[in-house]
Symmetry: D2
Subunit: 414 residues, 4 copies
């Protein structure tokens, strides 16, 4: 990637972030509704801190940071950078004010623009591109964290009116698409791709037994059948840890569903409405995805099966991404991607021969390779310009606040 | 009290509340820095809800509340009113917006003004006066809760510039003032006083052995001696529960103190500065007050001793109250009152013959009469117009976020 | 008290302890069913450690302790003695074996006997008497802790067959006995009594308004009426802290009650049987006692009222104590004492002029004078030889595992 | 396997269990030193319950269980069987007595012997063999749980004197053994093996990149170098979850190590002694194993690499197993197996085409396939007669109380 195109992409992404915040009131910027969900204010500052720490400080040793305490306040988890404000206390900071955070962004934007004029170092370019993708990741988190705030407010305020959906003909039939398996190449090809994270490398061989995956995501209608069959109360369908978690949290439906009057309703960023049976089910944990699959006589795909199937699919249609401005799964045509991140049965682990980035940036992905599960496919809150089939998202098996859904897979006789 | 004077008082208090919020940014209204410390936004709404629930609804059965959900959101603890938003989640509400809370206040203010025009019911008058004192209580809490927020922000922002202190000649000598004890009357005399809470009644007899109390509060200088004598690490000075609490919380100084450079500093609502040795020590728990007293060869007074001594004192000087706009203890002349609430060794319990108010308002005080300790004397954040010597404040022995200080007492041979 | 009578009393108490353990299997000695309830093995060792630490070490500086680690293992809470095994881990020690604990007891008994031969120091005598009463306190705890173990075992094993009750004519009428109040002396008179704890001193004056107390304890039958009137689910009857505790613990009946078939049953140390409506209700918390009293239109007595009423009562009958070997409340004749400890509304606090014992023994009582409530009257597990009307027992308001019951009091017009 | 050989094996295993308990005092049978470590008494009963529930009940519908409550008390986690005593409360049961547990075992043994006389059903045979291996698994847990009890007792009692070690020539050189990778078969071949668990099936293909594994386990000497290089305090070596866990638990050395005098010592089932530098390091978590590997410039093997390497090794020497009666890792010759379970980097997941056993026995393994890591190779507490190279043990990444050690692997250029 050239510096010119990196600049153009960087500008688009920075502007997009602020546009996403357009509908927010000052108060909305401040709330941390649970430990994992940061306030929008924090996201805005942290994205900016990333450029300050890893780009501007690198490019210009005499760069003067905007504020001496912001490194402490807005470092997320980089031990190599130093100590930092405790994550569960991000919502306890009324100061800096929202206006000061925007001033911070613009101060850093100006410094970045200035730097672009004379930059040519390829490592610096890599860091700019990484920072841009980092900001796109946080755009998605900003939306899911905001949703957790608004969606758990008893007043159930919405984020914004819905963008009108292009009501294309939807797929009404679910079927399994077979894949012969065999020896396959998995992972990104660093040379052929404008960008990938270190965790997608190196490209390497794997062996798959024959399998099939569904042509579409599990729908709310499918999921309601599981619920009506008492799926939430049948321990034989559940992993042991999942059954324990379900009981502690008293799960009886996906996050954001609630029973009112005589029907299941759902909070979305745009509305409070009865559940649409034709949309993909969303906001389920790994445990629920796994239990549903067992109930359905199927299983979740591995991340390798998923990647192979995605490369084979060639549908031309990619589902809903953030650029569609829906921020909620839509009625689907058949697609391997979009709308909801898809839980895979693969634990998040390094690929054979994995090497993290050098230095502190090596903390970006590598140190999280334990106890989490890989999700694939992107969601309605993921920028399409940030997506590729080799993308590995990862969350804990109990997590439900992302746009997470289910695709079923099955074994096939070889 | 007449309706006319109740109206005048009510107007002053309502305006005062908003003036106290003058220095706040929108963001400051939203933060709940710990379970016990509510966001300013919540206080503003709750004070208003009190008038809506207990005055307007009572005065006019067809009164239309401002918002159907506000009763749920802003009821503090009245089981008789119904269910309510969980206390630890008061800081998770970005909506209603601050501007909506002010609109709520003004809507209720208008309805109150309208009601005043024709009101004459003495029970209604009692409720208006109670609501006015309720609002004054929350003015103090608003300040202490705000201080907990700002004072624990790593940026240590201040609330406002300090009001200049009238530097009167301060008392430099601490001495014990003797009281002969004997049979004494304790509690408010409902007939002689414009207002008192139910917990100050009935006036009744008690017997006191001879005792003495100090003419002034324990100072920071006194307290530093205790610290320098390793008072925080000597278990023989501490109550068992206090020693456990101290270890869990790693207390080594009062709340808001921190060691920087080579000296102890203190965060106040106006400044971050070295501790002033001549001011009363503040923000200590009951456990610290008790340990300090033991170290000093003294003890805390009972609330009965305190009240008897206050009535006997007649100094003419009453110390610092909220009307002084200092919001921090000042260098003191001898006084039984003001600057800091004073921990007494009396558990918060009903007086003999105590009867709570009828109905739901009976929950105001009575149900808290367990496990807490009585504090006396008012503080720099207490409105003087809200104060009287029979006033019983109460907090848990571990609490430090109020303006709480220490007065020493001693036994005297009879 | 003379050395000769101290020796006789000490021998009786030491033997009694072992006789109480007669029905125990080795396994029963080891269980700590909750943090507050120690294993019998620990009690046996701790009682012995008390004599080793405070008597033998004091009497003979060259005394050789039985085992170098036992001071660490069996010190309860004496900071002045040194660090100790954490209380919640007392049940994690399979070693020392029960047989070793008995060997420890007998080693110390031998040393005590030897010491008695030549002792004459009055301070030593005081310590022996204190240690003897200490052992009697732990006899009661041993039984209540054992009950918590056996009573929560799904097999509900009993401790021993019941001693046959002397079925005397029971009192069937509950009535309030009036007391005129006035200036009264409270507390032990050290000179006139063979023994009292420091917390019963000094004897001092208090003033009581006229009051009355019931002639007998609240019965299971009375309490069932409260339950059937939905007393456990009516927040207007409860203290705020009590309501919270009740919900966390899901209390719907006293400890050891369970509903089976179509009736309430009760586990006792001797049986599992339907609740006997004529016995005193037992194993209730302060919160339940207080809620019951409010429901009954009465209140709990203060400890001063209780003591005054007990001195005035002169019934000649003292209720059930440990020497009766029932270890469960019996059908009652009118009595101020026995069967169940009675919650008073008095916080556990020092008497005016209180001085703890000198040195480490000062930790015996004084440091617990916060956050607990005083209980009076002794129980079916309290040795009568250990009891006096000035005795102040104390537990936290949430505690239910002692034999704790309810006596009602009322205000009287003066 | 024939019924005759199953009977012989079953008898040997049942006797072995009781022989392992030979050194225990009654008290030792009762202690549950943490939630995960059950009392020996519970293990003895649970092993027996397994035969009662899955063999005797199956073989003979009119079989009369020993005690009506034992199904509730000794069911471990089989939801299909019904509700059960909470796991963290297994140590709160003084009853049933140890002697009753032995009576239970012998009652079931008699019924089993009787059943063997006429049995011929192949499904019954499978269940007997499964139950026998189940008992062997619990033999290992019994020892590790007992060690956690004794090893955390401040008296540090030992289990038994050490069996004298055959001091064979030990391996002093660590080297990496290369494996070419490629397409390999993984998992058990059900037909060729007398027994395997369902989680070892089906045998299937996998693709491995070239790799190498060490010829021996990491030694205490190796691990001390990591410690001396401040490995426990260098966050760049640790997984994020591991770093958090390490801080919460204050880990600075393997479990059972303690610094005394001027050296590191280790508690074993036989002794308290200075750490032997030539023995394999033991009782480390996955996090520590992973951090050590990163520090050493290596990584942990996957379970597939491990299995391939084990099949390739052919050393003839298999390390220390339970039959050696050492119950602690010994100085090692090169071996892929024995002494310590070896953490692999593989999350515990179903093999492609995995099918759990039918019915309630399907809960044996399948429902644990989340959030845990696979360990391979067997330990000094694993019966060799229970072991095979395809054996998949699994624990959580934080667990340290098993005999868990480290083998290093590396990537190799293809």
């Amino acid at each position: 990637m050239s510096y010119a195109s990196a600049l153009a992409q960087w500008e688009r992404v920075r502007q997009r972030t602020e546009r996403l915040c357009g509908p927010l009131a000052t108060e909305d910027y401040c709330i941390q509704p649970m430990d994992d969900a940061s306030p929008p204010k924090w996201h805005l500052a942290h994205m900016t801190w990333f450029f300050e720490s890893f780009v501007l400080n690198y490019a210009n040793p005499s760069y003067k940071p905007f504020h001496p305490h912001f490194e402490y306040l807005f470092n997320s988890y980089y031990e190599g950078v130093g100590s930092r404000h405790p994550r569960p206390q991000r919502g306890l900071l009324s100061r800096p004010l929202v206006s000061e955070i925007y001033a911070y962004r613009h101060y850093v934007d100006d410094a970045m623009q200035e730097m672009f004029k004379s930059a040519s170092d390829p490592e610096l370019l890599r860091r700019i591109v990484l920072g841009t993708h980092h900001e796109q990741q946080h755009q998605e988190l900003l939306l899911t964290d905001l949703k957790f705030n608004l969606g758990h407010n008893p007043l159930r305020p919405i984020y914004a009116e819905a963008t009108k959906s292009k009501e294309e003909a939807i797929e009404t039939t679910t079927r399994q698409i077979e894949h012969p398996g065999g020896k396959l190449e998995i992972g990104a090809c660093a040379e052929e791709q404008p960008f990938c994270f270190d965790n997608e490398l190196p490209r390497h061989s794997t062996w798959l037994e024959p399998f099939s995956v569904a042509n579409r995501l599990v729908t709310n209608g499918d999921y309601l059948e599981f619920m009506q069959d008492d799926g939430y109360n049948n321990p034989s369908l559940w992993l042991s840890d999942g059954w324990a978690e379900k009981q502690i949290r008293a799960w009886q439906a996906p996050e954001y569903w609630f029973f009112e009057g005589d029907e299941w309703c759902e909070y979305t960023l745009h509305s409070v409405a009865p559940v649409d049976l034709n949309r993909p089910v969303c906001h389920v944990s790994y445990y629920e995805a796994d239990a549903f699959a067992r109930w359905a006589g199927a299983r979740l795909p591995t991340e390798f099966e998923w990647e192979a199937a995605a490369h084979a699919a060639q549908t031309g249609y990619h589902g809903t991404f953030a650029e569609d401005n829906h921020f909620h799964p839509q009625r689907q045509k058949a697609s391997m991607t979009g709308d909801c991140w898809q839980w895979t049965s693969s634990s998040y682990a390094p690929y054979p021969g994995y090497r993290p980035l050098a230095g502190t940036l090596g903390e970006y992905n590598g140190k999280f390779m334990a106890n989490q599960y890989v999700l694939r496919g992107g969601s309605c809150a993921t920028p399409l310009s940030h997506y590729r089939h080799t993308y590995r998202n990862f969350f804990y098996s109990k997590d439900r606040w992302q746009f997470t859904g289910i695709r079923l897979a099955q074994d096939r006789g070889s």
